[in-house]
């Protein structure tokens, strides 16, 4: 598996991603140190790892700047990029849900005109409401989406939940699940053809490493 560029996401998924990548046989020394380096080499296999924001993992892989990457399916589906996604990983499980105040759980969304939805996931949210024939006004926020309904900026929110604690702490309840997600491996379409041997070998080892 010579010469692969692997994009890993900073943040929530980083530690587990690095573990499984190392178990697959790639070694990136100093990747855990607190230095500000963003690129690490595995001299032995001629591979390198780049460390980028989760939303940027998909961009690097779509353009082939990285051959493969690990990213949450929530980020992947929100981005709408055109990549291969051959392997789901056994970590980073979460759900994208619609949530609101307890009264809204029983409200009929179809009868609510001017439905305002706060979210970090405008694409998934728009698609979800559109599929149900509901017109929702999206309020795009970059974080603390729970504040939206709590403070009256929005009627509902669409956000990722892990344990659901943040929702509860802000007096909100889940209304429905849009998508179940986990971390997954993505592969650039050209790399799958140009570097097929390296990519396939690495995928096979990732499969073994991630099922241990």
């Amino acid at each position: 598996m010579r010469g692969l560029t692997v994009a890993l996401p900073k943040g929530r998924l980083f530690e587990r991603s690095l573990q499984v990548v190392e178990a697959s046989g790639l070694r990136f020394h100093a990747a855990r140190s607190d230095s500000r380096r963003l690129m690490f080499a595995d001299e032995r296999s001629g591979s390198r790892m780049i460390l980028v924001k989760p939303v940027d993992v998909v961009t690097y892989v779509e353009h082939g700047a990285a051959d493969v990457g690990i990213v949450g399916e929530d980020v992947l589906h929100e981005s709408g990029v055109d990549v291969l996604e051959p392997l789901t990983l056994p970590f980073g499980q979460c759900r994208i849900v619609v949530a609101g105040t307890p009264e809204q759980r029983n409200a009929n969304l179809r009868l609510m005109t001017n439905l305002r939805v706060a979210t970090k996931y405008p694409r998934l949210t728009r698609d979800h409401f559109a599929r149900r024939g509901l017109s929702a006004e999206l309020i795009a926020l970059s974080g603390s989406v729970e504040l939206g309904p709590a403070i009256g900026l929005a009627d509902l929110l669409v956000d990722v939940v892990d344990t659901g604690r943040t929702l509860r702490d802000n007096g909100l309840v889940e209304i429905e699940t849009i998508l179940r997600c986990a971390a997954c491996v993505i592969v650039n379409r050209a790399s799958q053809v140009i570097k097929s041997e390296s990519v396939n070998q690495w995928l096979a080892q990732m499969q073994i490493a991630s099922s241990q």
Partner: protein
């Protein structure tokens, strides 16, 4: 009042000049030359047509991306989004009784209202061919071999071609009576190789375990030297075996003509591309570029949409993408000769003679002479053609 827009271009368009413009033109001529040498002649469809023609068989996504507008009678028109659909219309309505097969090439702009990404803009250039009226492995192999040859002759090395077969997927779903949305879901999961997602989709669909297993295996497809055995192992009916046998013949014919190892791979999950594809499909890649430079496929039902049915296959090269893959050319754009502007007939004859000899001759319309003219010519890397009546007064 000036508008904010008058100095801008719409999103996704670009201006080309100097070396880039020259490079693109050179690339187009190189491609046209190759197509001609393989016996293909040019077809030039109009840039826009009735919306109904352009949207025919375009598929939901491409239809959404069409640039539409109205003529003065209120009819809806659309800019072409590819060449294959206009050519299918031309063949079905005007050329159906010509001796087959027909071989056409085209080069020109197509227009799609999509988010500019992956080296593609809203107006981009396609150069491609259509081989019409033949449904044989030899025809499939010729089209793929020509795509490879075209990319090689414009200077791209290490081209890799990935070959798929739409009919294989169709054969695996044959006789199930699935709704179009269900087929689309299964197809989307397979073509993204999303095995886990596919498993959960298939659980909800009525089919035998053998078929379910074959589809999941298909999503996990990896090309190898023994691809043929692997493909036959996925077959669940006579139809699917037959499709693989035909594909094998195409690949074997190509192996004989391609003359390089590791150029071809088979990818049965390759189900993307135009919605009108029905058979062998393929895409070409080069190292360093993350997207396909060429893609094509067999479309045996498209021409019949406009009239008499006729099998066909073709491909389109993304010319801008091919340019991205080539090193920037330092083609010399300047003149070979800078001539002094005078009005003597014999001086002018010299200019004409130099141009006829193939030199690029620029006449200095700013009227420089002597040292100023020499300095100007030197700055352009050109020699000087001075007036032969130096010191005399030019007449006329």
């Amino acid at each position: 009042m000036t508008s904010d827009y008058e100095r801008q271009l719409p999103h996704g368009l670009s201006d080309l000049f100097f070396a880039e413009a020259a490079q693109r033109t050179a690339l187009e001529s190189g491609l046209a030359e190759t197509f001609l040498r393989w016996g293909y002649t040019q077809v030039i469809p109009p840039t826009f047509e009735f919306y109904e023609s352009i949207a025919a068989e375009a598929g939901t996504q491409l239809r959404e991306e069409l640039y539409r507008f109205f003529d003065r009678d209120g009819r809806t028109l659309a800019l072409r989004a590819d060449f294959t659909i206009p050519i299918a219309r031309i063949v079905a309505t005007k050329l159906y009784d010509q001796p087959m097969p027909l071989r056409f090439y085209y080069i020109g702009s197509v227009f799609r209202h999509e988010e500019p990404r992956a080296g593609r803009r809203r107006e981009f250039t396609q150069a491609g061919i259509e081989l019409i009226g033949a449904r044989t492995p030899a025809a499939d192999a010729e089209v793929i071999a020509l795509a490879l040859e075209a990319l090689r002759t414009i200077g791209l090395r290490e081209v890799r071609i990935s070959i798929g077969q739409m009919a294989f997927f169709k054969a695996l779903l044959a006789d199930l009576g699935l709704a179009p949305e269900q087929v689309a879901q299964v197809k989307a999961a397979i073509e993204r190789r999303a095995t886990a997602q596919l498993e959960s989709i298939l659980r909800a669909l009525p089919m035998a375990d053998e078929r379910r297993h074959a589809l999941v295996q298909l999503a996990g497809w990896r090309h190898s030297e023994r691809w043929r055995e692997a493909a036959h192992a996925l077959c669940i009916n006579a139809q699917s075996h037959q499709v693989i046998d035909e594909l094998t013949e195409v690949v074997e014919r190509l192996r004989a003509s391609v003359q390089a190892d590791n150029v071809l791979s088979v990818d049965l999950t390759a189900l993307r591309g135009m919605e009108y594809y029905t058979g062998v499909v393929f895409a070409g890649f080069v190292p360093g570029i993350g997207y396909d430079l060429v893609s094509g496929g067999r479309y045996d039902e498209l021409i019949g949409h406009f009239g008499k049915a006729c099998p066909a296959m073709g491909f389109a090269i993304g010319v801008e993408r091919a340019m991205m893959a080539l090193p920037a050319q330092n083609a010399r754009l300047g003149p070979d000769v800078v001539a002094e502007a005078c009005a003597h007939a014999e001086c002018y004859e010299q200019i004409v003679a130099a141009r006829r000899a193939g030199e690029r001759v620029l006449v200095d319309v700013l009227g420089r002479s002597g040292g100023a003219l020499r300095a100007y010519a030197q700055s352009l890397g050109a020699r000087v053609l001075a007036c032969r009546h130096k010191g005399k007064i030019c007449e006329g």
